[in-house]
Amino acid sequence: MPEKTTAFKVRDILFLIMTVLPIVCGIVIRVLFVPSSDGIEISGAHIFFNMDFPVSPLIISEAQVNSWLVMISLLFLCLYLTNGIKENIHTKRQVIAEWIVETVEKLVKDNMGDYFTGFAPFVAAIMALSAFSSLMSLTGMFPPTSDLNIVAGWAFLVFILITYYKMKCGPLHYLKSFAEPVPFLAPLNIISEVATPISMAFRHYGNILSGSVISVLIAAALQGLTHLVLGWLPGWLGEFPFLRVGIPAFLSLYFDLFSGLLQAFIFAMLTMLYIGGAFSLEDYIARKQKKIKTKSTT
């Protein structure tokens, strides 16, 4: 095993610190700027910055800031994983990096076909951003994915890609696809086309938000229950919400950890399926050949 150089170690430590620092910063920002709420309060992201802009005001909210923090964290995590990468494996993280790359590529190939191998980084980006954003709620921060705008942005990008790949076989082909299987179903087809990104966005956003809503409700309910059962205890003992210790952690395991990862996977899966389904390689090749033929005749 080759000796680790000082530069390698310094870079390692730097990347690790830079991975953790944004999360710490997020917590600090939350503590400093967001007032703590009492009781049952379910609200959207806090607004840090509001400016008049054409069409609609430019708002920098907690969701935006948190997603930027996640991005910085991910950037340095990537740098950390690929730090000192070599042909002969000599670090554990290299195995992890290779596993991530190979797994995502295999997933993309299986779901979308060989033509879309270049989509692996995109799918990995969706999964990482979605999963880490959702997992932010574990630290007590506002998870960006429980803001509709964030997820809508991703879904809109996916919609653009779907339309782009449908257009690749020709605009006429794209328009014709709405009249299938029978022309009078065209309105339904258009609705289903528009519904795709909306359903994706609302599915993801709704799952994460409902998790935090249920967490808040259960916390409040447990407080009420403690008051009902142990309210007779004297002094502060009667006030202290004993049942809130520990129990919400198990619920958080499902609502934050499991649900967050599952939604990230579902979103990535749907992205792959929709984009993969939007494009048929045979039609594309047929169109190209036709083009070449018409070119050669003229």
Partner: protein, 167 residues
Amino acid sequence: MQTLDIISVNIWQIIISLCNLVIIFLIMKKFLFKPVKDMIAKREAKVNEVLDEAKQERAEAEKTKTLWEEKMAASDEEADRIIKKAVAKAGKRSELIIGNANSKADEIVRQAKAEAELEHKAAEESIRHEIVTLSSALTGKLLEREINPDDHSELIDEFINEIGEIS
């Protein structure tokens, strides 16, 4: 501080989020997928190189092996040839030596024979001489006069020769 509504749609926020996803895609591509894929490609190239090298070396080893085997066979033949040659040479030489020895021995024998003959002749001569002197002395005594052996030697020789022929 203000908060957003639970369901609020803001076009700029959507665009910012869209750009965020694009940026994170570029980050993933450049800082995670590219290094790993480059490294995998490099590793593949290295493995292929090593395999090619091994193949080449094996072919070379096989070549040298056949070469050595040929050489071994050739050397066996050559050894045979050399031995045969040496044996032939030695045979020729021994024949030569034996021939020489034989001829030398013959010469020695011949010389010895010649010498013996010469000696024999000398002895004969001396005996004859003695007989001449003896007979001359004898005849001188018989004739009571001194005979000059030189004068009568011819006569005596004739006599002796006659004796020799008779004997």
